[in-house]
């Protein structure tokens, strides 16, 4: 008996040893930076020309400054509106495609091929994708050439000189990069629904749309919430696409400047106080959203 117990302890030791790399690296490269970010957010610390200002402890001044001087609400609004412009079509299209792909009566052919094609943009380097869109939507680019050849427009449409054009292009890229992924997740979710529910509905003579509306959607709710929250977390991080498309300037007139682009500016100019305050706000927001996702996982396990 005692021998068995000691051998059990001997194995347990390895459980701890195998966790060391993860927690060591996490502590050094994530936890310490997090603490340092929070610490820095309470100090005034930046370069004014060649002069170093601070670091001086200023309490919550950076947070107040963020709202009073830094247009933070405008950048938040930009981020949210661009995210929504991409997310709304994404969820509508993905839900529709997922329902079609699993519809047994519809019997679509080449499903595997379509799935492969729509998932592909999600693996592409966002920076390169954005550079590609910048090139093909430029004033003398292929899209304007094609539109003029087809006599749809007489003069080149200046996508990037236009608020709607720029935001629309960013949203279009986000849509293309994510709708395939969302379709696959929702499909897996629909396939996980108890088939007897669908059978019962068919016996009762429900139409395809009624089944979708009254069985698929309610059963899919946890996964829809999961998709919504993870997409929002991703949306708050939006950076590569607008950064490359507008060369980091958020043109026209800061209407496509996202929160992380603004943070990136402070990281390059070494304004640690303001950058820190912005980081802490974003951290709090994403952590809260992550906890919501965590609750969905825990609910499913039970």
């Amino acid at each position: 008996m005692s021998k068995k117990k000691s051998s059990c302890v001997r194995y347990t030791k390895w459980g701890y040893i195998f966790l060391i790399p993860f927690f060591l690296v996490y502590t050094i490269f994530s936890l310490i930076p997090l603490i340092s970010t929070i610490y820095n957010s309470f100090f005034e610390n930046y370069m004014s020309g060649l002069n170093q200002i601070g670091p001086t402890f200023v309490g919550f001044d950076n947070y107040i400054k963020l709202f009073k001087e830094a247009n933070i609400l405008k950048y938040t609004w930009n981020t949210i509106i661009i995210w929504l412009l991409g997310f709304i079509p994404q969820i509508v299209v993905s839900l529709t495609l997922a329902a079609w792909f699993v519809d047994l009566r519809l019997k679509l052919k080449a499903k595997g091929f379509f799935k492969t094609v729509i998932y592909m943009p999600g693996l592409i380097m966002a920076a390169a994708f954005s550079m590609l869109f910048f090139s093909i939507f430029s004033d003398a680019g292929p899209v304007n050439d094609i539109l003029m050849d087809l006599n749809i427009i007489d003069q080149p449409f200046r996508f990037l000189a236009n608020v709607g054009g720029t935001r629309g292009l960013i949203a279009l890229m986000n849509f293309l990069m994510w709708f395939g992924n969302t379709t696959i997740i929702l499909m897996a979710g629909i396939l996980g629904i108890d088939t007897s529910l669908f059978e019962a509905a068919e016996v009762d003579g429900a139409r395809a749309f009624q089944i979708f509306r009254f069985i698929t959607i309610p059963q899919l709710k946890p996964i829809l919430v999961y998709v919504l929250i993870t997409s929002l977390i991703g949306g708050l991080q939006m950076f590569d696409v607008p950064q490359i498309l507008t060369n980091g300037r958020g043109l026209p007139n800061n209407t496509s400047m996202t929160l992380i682009m603004y943070l990136n500016k402070h990281l390059f100019s070494k304004n640690y106080g303001l950058g820190g305050a912005l980081s802490v706000m974003l951290f709090t927001l994403t952590l809260a959203l992550s906890l919501l996702v965590y609750r969905i996982f825990v609910k499913k396990e039970n």
Binding site: L19, N264, L282, F283
Partner: protein, 286 residues
């Protein structure tokens, strides 16, 4: 009755035709940008300026050579740098995530539940929000322009741990580990020789995802790497974007984009089934 059936059948045909129409439209939307990219990377700058053509040109090799010859844009070095960083990241992240997941899966210790819950809770917190502290730390450690801060942090990847743990729940019964123990296998050896081969399908998918993520990563590398010869492809693309665009040879620009995108696209063409399957596998627990 027959009439009603006919109506139903007609409705089905219409729905099917509509579905194919939408799918083909979306397919064109997904592929057209890449088609334009391929075409324009084979055309000369003056031709590209003149207007778009749906047929390829004959400048592919010349554009490629012109890109490699550009002294301000060290593309060959950038590609090698990207390969080194992404390759090592993919290997480290999958190996150590497997061992972390294994620890939670097999062993029974006091804080096991707390530890796994912690990993799930931090799973979605993005690196950007701690990047300020991260970059200050890297500066203090004198590791700017080193690849260590881009590779080593991937050892702690909560999402990969979660994926592999999910897979273990499905395929790795504890009896296998116990049988190995009875045979006198050392715990570390059991993991390397018996468990890792069982995890191969999941690890293969995760290696591809990790490689792709690192290959595409722009935000953190752009803060860490400032030496011209250390830069990775996304940073060079950003540099290309900030250069005076009008003076640029567009054939070269398209070639540069193609070079950054196609390694991933080629891998995807061969392994798309496993990759798409991997997305579905990890996302939802059945």
């Amino acid at each position: 009755m027959i009439n009603k059936n006919d109506n139903g059948l007609l409705g089905l045909y219409i729905r099917r035709a509509f579905s194919y129409f939408v799918l083909i439209f979306l397919m064109i939307l997904c592929l057209l940008p890449f088609y334009i990219l391929i075409i324009n990377s084979t055309r000369a700058h003056p031709d590209i300026q003149k207007g778009f053509s749906f047929l390829p040109g004959s400048y592919f090799v010349r554009n490629f050579k012109a890109l490699l010859a550009d002294k301000n844009l060290p593309v060959v070095k950038g590609t090698i740098n990207s390969f080194i960083i992404a390759g090592l990241t993919a290997l480290l992240t999958t190996y150590f995530s497997s061992i972390t997941a294994y620890s939670v899966h097999v062993y029974d210790f006091k804080f096991k539940k707390v530890i796994y819950s912690f990993i799930l809770m931090i799973m979605m917190v993005p690196t950007q929000v701690t990047s300020l502290g991260f970059i200050k730390l890297i500066r203090d450690m004198k590791m700017l322009n080193s690849y260590i801060p881009l590779i080593v942090p991937s050892i702690a990847a909560p999402i990969v741990v979660f994926f592999i743990k999910q897979y273990m729940d499905a395929v790795l019964p504890l009896e296998i580990v116990e049988a190995a123990r009875i045979d006198g296998s050392h715990e570390f050896k059991t993991f390397n020789k018996i468990v890792l081969p069982i995890l191969k399908p999941a690890i293969a998918v995760q290696i591809i995802f990790a490689f792709t993520n690192s290959w595409n990563n722009y935000f953190i590398p752009a803060l860490v790497l400032t030496d011209k010869d250390k830069k990775t492809l996304p940073i060079l693309i950003a540099q290309l974007r900030s250069a005076d665009f009008l003076k640029f040879d567009m054939g070269k620009v398209y070639m540069m984009i193609a070079l950054s995108i196609f390694p991933i696209v080629i891998v995807y063409m061969f392994l798309s089934r496993q990759i798409v399957g991997g997305v579905a596998m990890g996302s939802v627990k059945g």
